[in-house]
Symmetry: C2
Subunit: 153 residues, 2 copies
DNA sequence: GTCTAATTTGCAAGTCTTGCTAACTAACAA
DNA sequence: TTGTTAGTTAGCAAGACTTGCAAATTAGAC
């Protein structure tokens, strides 16, 4: 995603308005590596701008996505995640806490399906599933009792 | 996924009943490579067993998934897809018609994130996005004007 | 300041999936 | 065969997430 200032320029040049709501959302996304949901962003935005609506957050995110400034990631758990990083990269998803981490994968771009007939590949995505280091150390440190409790759910 | 007969045995050994609804769903999934949604299966099932409920389809699919007999795939468009193929394989998704095709990827299992700290990888998934051959030939046969428009992008 | 098209809000509605429970039935024993 | 009962189904309500809609608001231009 471009910087908030650049996005501002871009929006204006498209005949769009630069509202405080949009500015706030731009700033919340800038350098944001948490892969937040719309609800996540709404929560943070509300703290700084009480009254902003979830609808506006969705609206702005969709606009940015259409402009190619955001990447959408769907993990099949909870809502869509929004990624301001549109450079070539991939993701590692923790099955315990759900956090998504950016990763780079050497040789990913040259991966090819070896039995896909005439399928024309335009994009390759790699997702690693597993456990993040935070969850790993937490699991070790916790009492076996708590552990049992958690895994039940 | 195991064969319908094997699933039947497995269900019974778990103290579960072998109902006609379950048997039908087992048979619809057997060797099914279409990656159907619950609604897709419900449609087909209804033709053979009028009155079967969508709720039961979901229920059975979830049971099979918990038993490790099905893989769930979420593409962020429409509903969850259910894949009875739980062997190591990957997917190519057509952005035009939405069809998912199984593909094998040489070296996928050995892919590693090169900057993921202590993330413990337990599974790697590769998704190719692009256009399937059906949609490609369909595009060629249609007006060249439309085609130029598309290929520009 | 005035004007107006773009934007924001709040709520209704849509899509997909799950919770709940009364009615039903497969499985088993007598 | 019949009775028993724990497991299952069907139907509908409700939950989670996202979008449609339209009245009220406002950024940006003149
Ligand atoms: Mn990312
Ligand atoms: Mn598959
Ligand atoms: Zn984690
Ligand atoms: Zn296609």
């Amino acid at each position: 995603m471009h910087s908030p200032a650049e996005l501002a320029t871009q929006f204006r040049s498209m005949g769009r308005k630069l509202t405080p709501q949009r500015q706030l959302i731009f700033s919340l996304l800038h350098n944001n590596e948490t892969h937040p949901t719309a609800e996540n962003l709404y929560g943070i935005a509300s703290a700084q701008m009480p009254g902003i609506s979830l609808r506006t957050v969705y609206q702005t995110l969709n606009e940015l996505a259409e402009m190619g400034e955001l990447q959408l990631i769907d993990l099949g758990e909870g809502g869509m995640r929004f990624d301001p990083n549109v450079d070539d990269h991939h993701h590692a998803v923790c099955g315990v806490c759900g956090k998504i981490r950016d990763v780079h994968v050497k040789g990913a771009a040259s991966l090819k399906p070896n039995d896909a007939g005439d399928f024309m590949v335009s994009d390759v995505g790699v997702v690693f599933r597993g456990k993040c280091s935070d969850c790993e150390s937490r699991a070790v440190k916790r009492s076996p009792v708590l552990q049992a409790k958690v895994s039940k759910k």
